[in-house]
Symmetry: none
Subunit: 463 residues, 2 copies
């Protein structure tokens, strides 16, 4: 007879416990194929539980196929081939990323204090009151229509991009969109990436088996000669403000690129990741806005303008790719929560987004000025040059000392400061003497600390 | 001459409307290859619009490749091979108009009124007060750690799955995870899919160039004979409750599957999409919970338990795949908003999720009972059979009439009711006489209407 002790402090229904015990005995081989189990009544009496309880346990085992009930004969263990020996494994392994770095001048962050999260929250409450039902209705596959409308409107006012909502696809971060584009344009193509450039882009292409080449930049942008020689037919570039060098692709180069795309059945992916934060003058008009050949795909994210933790990005497809998108991948659901899209739509529509951008531009300007001013006070200032500080949320700090930027970065890390060396963004091996100072996540009262730590490093390394 | 009536309350530019009309006529075959279109001037006069408007419409059709302009001859329809049958597209693809369908028994929906959105909102306010900074800190790449902990705890209590947070990866919906898994396990493998099965799964694999085969099901689950012959090394299955047939993979078949995986360096993707809603008895124990060979990858989503519009899903990787994941794709950012992950973590931790599941189970049970009771009252009840109504959020309605289920579904659509025929989920052509009744999004006061509409259809089709 089966005998199981039912614990006093059992945290599950008794029938479930009995079911578990019997199942375990079957898996372990204590109960073998064709073994007959006690009748429900007998087992109930033995375990001092109700017949119903045993019935429920047996029922579950029958549904899952461990037992068979044969009429007028009783319950029998089924024949199972269990292909492994049972051993319970216990592991207490844990992993947690280290976020203890004090000064991080590399990460893609925005400061929590500067985002109007209360406005965001107020909008979400308003939606709960007024559009509660809509939160539970699946958005259009391309993304929530009012959000795509709001983005289209914003692009028209801000970036001279004239697009209809139907051309816009909402995605969950840039990485998601890179893969989407490779699927849309085809993986038999060769994709040209900027060198130096964002490592994340290359990694996504490599992961998805997309053939890609690295093209050097000259002062006007990506090298046309190298691009032509590479046989690439897709160029993934950031025209307005190249990361990390800050180069703006010249008008002449832009038209060369468009010509190249038209002549080679090619496409240009314009990754406009931080154009909203040009700190001086007007934002650079996107390549998309001068393209009449429908060869430019525009992409942007709200990572810099709102927060990278919100995971919302978008594409603007040229009209002629719309139909291809629909046929090939129109079935894909939008990966962003409808509720979040509703809040963002209202945030943009009600002009909070525009106000936030203006405020942030001032915030970053103040931050940059404070940091640069602090650097100016330092003895080493005559040995460094600040470059490209008017565009985007980082600048380059070039120095005269012989030590490599990788060495400087290593040293900085020892002092609890994370800075990326420019050489980090090059595809091949190279030695540069430039640091990429990404100040977007820096607290303004930490600028002095940054300047001082650099002093310690330069002093040691220069001596 | 083409004649289209332009609605007074048109919500798009007139040229776009004309473009749409002509395109539809081409796709439907009303306008055939090499047909000549009227001149711009003639069509403009006929439709009483400007020549520019027609020019824009024609222009768009030329760009998209529907028309060619031949100089001095006019506009001609191009020869197109349209790779899908128009009818199935019109009847089953989801488009924006679908939302006007009165009774939708096909869509994956939850009722807005049943989700405790106020609790959700209260948690979000609490987080704003207590953890505001954290909203702006990028979550761990695999997902927000406290959410992965909460899911691990929930799985332990609810599904007999013993996993540590480090094995869990948060994704933005199931489609996102399908691709992730294909990248992880490798695209050189052949993936076995269930036939019948979710079309969405196949589409994602096809889009990502993943080789896949369709394996028939018998009463115990996926056919082992066909699986072995297919040379597949990954089986993507739903053991607990197969969609749409409701079959639960038997224990014997489960161990055969595990044996197969071990013998072929194979993996089983266990897509446990709606096991929480077993309406009678316990949820079926996942295959993952009896696998000691580390060959089963468990995946689930919050689409059914919370809402498909929240776009949160997760994987549980067997321990031995963790390191491969880290190496191959550990750099990928989690695609879900940190804030949303924080809310969900707290929602699960504070047991609101469990309470919600219990409430929903009762809700769905009530809904199913009401619907089945209503069906019982109908004359045609003796000609139908309700199958698999205890598991998940849909049941099968098998009927005796000779008419195909596709015909019934078409007829239902005409009456404003969307129901999927079982045959829709088969890979090849087949005729079945079974409707898949997905009642999860149905209002309880609409059950009578559903029963009555079915009566109208059966009456007409049976006579």
């Amino acid at each position: 007879m089966l005998t199981y002790t039912i614990p006093d402090d059992l945290k599950m229904p008794i029938y479930e416990y009995i079911y578990q015990c019997i199942k375990k005995d079957i898996i372990k081989g204590k109960l073998k194929a064709h073994d007959k189990l006690p009748s429900k009544r007998a087992l109930a009496a033995n375990l001092n539980v109700s017949v119903i309880t045993v019935e429920n346990a047996y029922g579950q085992l029958i549904i899952e196929g461990y037992l068979s009930a044969i009429e007028k004969k009783g319950y029998f263990v089924n024949s199972l081939q269990i292909p492994f020996s049972i051993e319970s494994e216990l592991s207490l392994e844990r992993s947690e990323e280290d976020r203890t770095i004090g000064l991080d001048l590399q990460r893609n962050a925005v400061s929590a204090s500067s985002f109007p999260i209360d406005t965001w929250s107020r909008i979400s409450r308003k939606i709960l009151l007024e559009k509660r039902e809509e939160i539970f209705i699946s958005a259009d596959k391309k993304g929530y229509l009012p959000l795509r409308k709001a983005i289209a409107q914003h692009l028209r006012e801000f970036s001279s991009i004239d697009a209809i909502p139907d051309q816009i696809i909402i995605g969950a971060g840039s990485e998601y969109l890179y893969n989407l584009l490779a699927l849309l344009l085809g993986k038999e193509r060769i994709y040209a990436l900027e060198d130096p450039g964002h490592q994340g882009i290359e990694r996504v292409y490599a992961l998805n088996d997309v053939k890609h080449v690295h093209i050097k930049l000259d002062k006007e942008g990506i090298s046309m000669k190298d691009l032509l020689e590479s046989k690439a037919t897709v160029a993934h570039i950031s025209c307005a403000h190249h990361f990390p060098t800050g180069i703006t692709t010249s008008a002449a180069r832009r038209y060369e690129l468009l010509k190249w795309a038209m002549a080679n059945d090619g496409y240009i992916i314009e990754d406009d990741y931080d154009n909203e934060f040009r700190l001086k003058g007007k934002p650079i008009a996107p390549l998309y806005s001068i393209d009449n050949s429908q060869r430019v795909i525009y992409m942007n994210t709200f990572s810099k303008t709102i927060s990278p933790t919100f995971r919302i990005s978008y594409l603007v497809l040229p009209k002629k790719l719309k139909e291809l998108y629909r046929q090939k991948m129109g079935f894909l659901s939008c990966p962003v929560s409808t509720f979040d899209q509703m809040i963002l739509a209202e945030f943009i529509e009600s002009k909070y987004f525009e106000r936030h951008l203006n405020r942030m531009r001032n915030h970053y300007k103040g931050l940059r000025d404070a940091l640069v001013n602090e650097l100016k006070k330092q003895e080493y200032y005559s040995h460094i040059r600040i470059r490209e500080s008017d565009s985007g949320l980082h600048f380059l700090l070039e120095y005269d000392y012989a030590v490599s930027d990788q060495e400087i970065a290593k040293q900085a890390l020892k002092l609890g400061m994370k800075i990326a060396p420019l050489s980090y963004y090059y595809h091949g091996e190279c030695v540069t003497h430039t640091l990429v100072i990404n100040y977007s996540g820096l607290d303004i009262d930490k600028v002095k600390e940054v300047a001082k730590k650099l002093e310690m490093i330069f002093k040691e390394k220069a001596s």
